[in-house]
Subunit: 147 residues, 2 copies
């Protein structure tokens, strides 16, 4: 897979989601890209940390700010395997993230249902890449949980 | 001041806001109360931690879950000196917080403007207590910043 492409970055986010899956977490992963470089990777850790705020996006934002030594991330794009919830969209707003690319939509808990204007007006949003792969992993997780 | 009252708890949240003020942070403080006991205290640390997610409410939720060893906080009430933003309201939703009591309203960045339905339907919301004190502290902070 060619590097420096949306496909590459989203695939890296999917790898993070797979780590979450292996650890018994709802499999959602994220990476933050700045100047064609991945500066942060994270996956959902709400169970491990016993903390509802430990979504992949939140951990990725914190890690990206740590990597850059900056609170704001206007030159960065977050790639995440599922549409962010309102909490994560609110965090992306405060971070003034330059871009958001999410794979699968989340009609129930995604921020678009709550309010499309939660993001910063300058944030460029794209979606859909590898949506099937992401959805399949999440469904597989919940199927396993039920059995 | 009598203990086990909303006044007492909100005053403790204001003390947290005062700590933030002293450290050059936008002065917002929060406490989490469970069975009449304060189990978590926090203040805004976005500057110190270089992290937009480090709002008082987020840190308080994480600390409360840590104290209880539980992700969900249906028996808890969060007292906070300013109306939570969408990010924090989203976190309170995931935590299924039993109650939210905020002092001052935030017409610009408060969750009520974004979407009143961001909170969990079971969360009981109250507001207004010590609103003037909270607003005064925040105004004092921004006046100092400008001078």
């Amino acid at each position: 897979m060619e590097i420096y492409t949306d496909e590459y970055y989203m695939n890296e986010a999917l790898k993070q989601a797979a780590y979450a899956y292996e650890e018994g977490e709802i499999p959602i992963g994220a990476v933050v890209v700045c100047n064609n470089r991945i500066i942060a990777k994270a996956y959902n850790q709400t169970e491990k940390l016993t903390d509802v705020t430990a979504h992949a996006e939140m951990l990725a934002i914190t890690a990206a700010s740590d990597a850059l030594g900056a609170k704001y991330l206007p030159e960065c794009t977050l790639y995440v395997t599922l549409e962010p919830c309102a909490m994560c969209a609110g965090a992306l707003f405060w971070a003034q993230i330059g871009g958001l690319y999410f794979a699968a939509s989340d009609p129930k808990r995604g921020f678009l249902r709550a309010s499309p204007s939660l993001l910063h007006p300058k944030t460029k949003v794209q979606r859909g890449l590898y949506a099937d792969k992401s959805t399949e992993l999440i469904q597989q997780f919940f199927n396993k949980l039920r059995n």
